[in-house]
């Protein structure tokens, strides 16, 4: 659909002429400079990747190998023992399942809630939309500690303490705060002719939302869903406070909290870090295009 693409992309008119500005120099000097810049960037990128590489190498190294040859040598005798023993000690499969359930639920629920809010603010243009929007953004701005203790206190009598539902509810609200702002600002560019045509046809508001707005907004909703999923996956403070038994841990909690709890050797810590990194690497490869464009309401307007 062209309208939705226009809202998503807005490709700027770009004219690129190869020999222009600073590149217009003697070709030898230009080439030296260009490759200098390129190698500089490669060196920087190597620094960015180095921590991951070091962790990956040591996760498959035996503890004796690590003790004898240090953290920089390649593994003499690669093993999956560290990974397996950490996996079993914390039931990492369960943590993966918990994280998928929590992040997946929040992605769907927060996007739905954002859509409903934004429909009223962005399409309905109810009065007081701006103050309401600022009000919603508060949920995104407030530090966790401003709400954590009363929530913790309320969760116990409600039977929500140590349940995934508690975390799902909290993050649905927190992620929908930004989501409302994001979706509402995209909706502001919604083609009026389509809305008017729908009204002339006697289209009800629910029908308007489901049959007209949602199909056109689908790309932006998908972007929000991806970000809400990743953001929720990466959260630490609230999941750590609310999910206290091993069987409820999310991936970051399992990796970070169990450092102190279990008697883990250095190799197992490296393995735990690698296991924490790998799912995100998968998401990154899957959603790279969406993620690396960043998300601010302005950049999609």
């Amino acid at each position: 659909m062209t309208t939705s693409m226009a809202m998503e992309e807005q490709p700027a008119p770009r004219t690129r002429k190869p020999n222009q500005g600073r590149i217009r120099r003697s070709s030898v000097l230009g080439a030296v400079q260009a490759y200098g810049v390129l190698f500089g960037l490669i060196a920087l990128l190597a620094v960015m990747f180095a921590p991951f590489a070091i962790i990956a190498v040591n996760a498959v190294k035996t503890p004796t190998d690590l003790a004898a040859n240090g953290p920089l040598s390649l593994p003499q005798d690669p093993t999956l023992n560290n990974i397996a023993s950490f996996w079993n000690a914390v039931d990492f499969g369960g943590a993966l399942r918990n994280s998928i359930v929590i992040s997946g639920s929040v992605a769907v629920l927060a996007t739905t809630l954002s859509l409903l809010n934004a429909f009223a603010l962005g399409i309905g243009r109810i009065r007081g939309a701006l103050p309401l929007l600022v009000f919603f953004m508060m949920a995104n701005i407030l530090p966790n500690e401003a709400i954590v203790y009363p929530l913790y206190y309320m969760a116990k009598p409600l039977g929500l303490y140590n349940t995934q539902l508690s975390v799902i509810i909290m993050f649905t609200v927190i992620q929908s705060a930004f989501g409302t702002y994001f979706i509402a600002s995209v909706m502001r560019a919604f083609p009026k002719e389509i809305l008017d045509a729908a009204k002339v046809d006697g289209c009800g508001k629910l029908q308007l939302l489901v049959q007209v707005v949602v199909p056109i907004m689908r790309p932006s909703l998908a972007v929000l869903m991806v970000f809400a999923f990743i953001w929720t996956w990466n959260e630490f403070y609230l999941p750590m406070v609310f999910l206290v038994s091993n069987s409820q841990y999310t991936v970051p909690v399992a990796v970070a909290v169990t450092q102190g709890q279990h008697m883990m050797n250095e190799s197992q810590v490296a393995a735990s870090a690698l296991l924490g990194v790998l799912p995100c690497l998968v998401f990154f490869l899957l959603f790279q295009r969406t993620l690396t464009r960043g998300i601010t309401a302005g950049s999609y307007r």
């Binding site: 530090p143 966790n144 924490g276």
Partner: protein, 307 residues
Amino acid sequence: MISGRAAKSKKSSLDSGYWVFLLPGLVMFLLVIIVPFAATIAVSFTTWNGVQLPKWIGIDNYVNLLSDPYFVASFQNTLILLLAMVVIPTILGLLLAGVLYSYVSRRFGEKTASFFRAGFYLPQVMPVAVAGVVWGWILTPDGALNSILQGVGLGVLAQNWLGNPDIALFSVMGMMVWFQVGFPLVIFFTALQRMDQSIIEAAALDGASGWQTFIHVTIHQIRPEIFVVVLMTTIATFKVFAQVFVLTRGGPGTATYVPSYYTYLNFFQKSQVGLGSAVATIVTVVVLAVAVVFINLQARRDLAEDF
């Protein structure tokens, strides 16, 4: 809000129907954000161990905090962390975005620029807590960083990176820069792609060097994005928790204390819920004040155009 329906007939009649869609969001927002936040403020005026009834003590918690070394340290550290969370990543992100967009993508193609952009962004998709475990592993006394330093003959620089109170905060900051830099980079890169290229070309025709164009034209053009990035990362600085929790637990001493970690300790380990609530309230007020100042400076104009 629905009143005045008769007066401004068309818009108001629409209004009434749309309010229904806002109800679920408002109710959940009330229960999860507003009520707990109000409770935190109320509790901040009490002394409470979380079990017995809270006892009203007025502003005593706030008065005590002024001379509380942990609290003072946590705020001082936060101000220093602004360097690693806001200043350095924003400047690095600007430079990298500029080089990648206006140089690398022209000399080596857009694919190459995208590859670098994705590479620098990678830490951003990781949980901070997991990134903390990764760095904690590297920064131990017999860890990878010291091994590298010894390997290249700089063994004298080897440190107990997280155990030395003079160094620990800077070690945490190193990890933060590594983690943060991808965020401004992708926001600025996307902004540059949307920028009106004719202005850049006009500057080049006028004889401006690449660097002059970047400083005087490009930065000016993407100013809204710079504001957004600085606002969001400043707020994030006051929320720093997992990095400190995983790497240092605030130590050694108070060297890496931050407000979030101090409230966490008060809430869940020291049973000083009133004091913790006072810290949380102060942090929240500071964060909201930062947001209001920024919005007044810049974003209000953007918002007002739209809403």
